[in-house]
Symmetry: C2
Subunit: 116 residues, 2 copies
Amino acid sequence: MTVHLRASEALYLWRSAMLAMVRNDGPDLTQRQLTILLQIYLEPPPHTVRGLAALLGVTKPVITRALDTMGAMGLVHRTRDKTDRRNVVIQRTVEGSEYIEQLGRIIVRQGEELGV
Amino acid sequence: MTVHLRASEALYLWRSAMLAMVRNDGPDLTQRQLTILLQIYLEPPPHTVRGLAALLGVTKPVITRALDTMGAMGLVHRTRDKTDRRNVVIQRTVEGSEYIEQLGRIIVRQGEELGV
DNA sequence: AACTATCGTTTCGCTACCGTATCAGTTTGC
DNA sequence: GCAAACTGATACGGTAGCGAAACGATAGTT
């Protein structure tokens, strides 16, 4: 890339990658769900419901529901914290890692095709 | 940016921008809706329902419903094609332009903070 | 032991999305 | 002129999201 990403470049990149994701027929995650998933896989653990809720600026049920959905898809896994059983620790899965890696590849590929 | 966007950089950029969008409390568009909106604003007209459906690889009702929703939000506008009244021409709005511009600014800002 | 605080989940009523099938209106082709 | 083709919209039944409120389980406090 050049010195910085320009707005128009950014938007073209965004559209291309989103288009590839939509056409890909994979899990159709909401923006919130994808944000949660990225946070889990990009930042070191532990990840908790309340932490994610605070980060995203949403209520806790939003996180619980998103984890329900993505858990059913196999993208994340939940376990009770053994030291404080009120907490739930959100863990990564192989399937989730593969999804994130695929997303990264899609963005990079679209960026290359745009010369970004 | 350097020579190319690496996968990890791409994912961090993606997460940061999506996080900013989620926290922004703006219209909560689905991935499909946002893809449609970007297509309308980045590519020259005319844009039609069938064209967008073919591009995204979805059925026509998906496009109609997305346009219903985004139309109610003021992000797009629909008009009948005068030369062929079967067609509907999808048009941009000031509000939609502002939304897209804001999205571009968010991505660029997050990219700058990541040094991408 | 009893009270309080915290954590994640569940419930409620509601809204919006999905895919499939079908629709009315318009144009095309014979 | 009239049937076929095509466009976008609509109906249907089902699924999943939302915010607000309440809940059960656990931990901390006195």
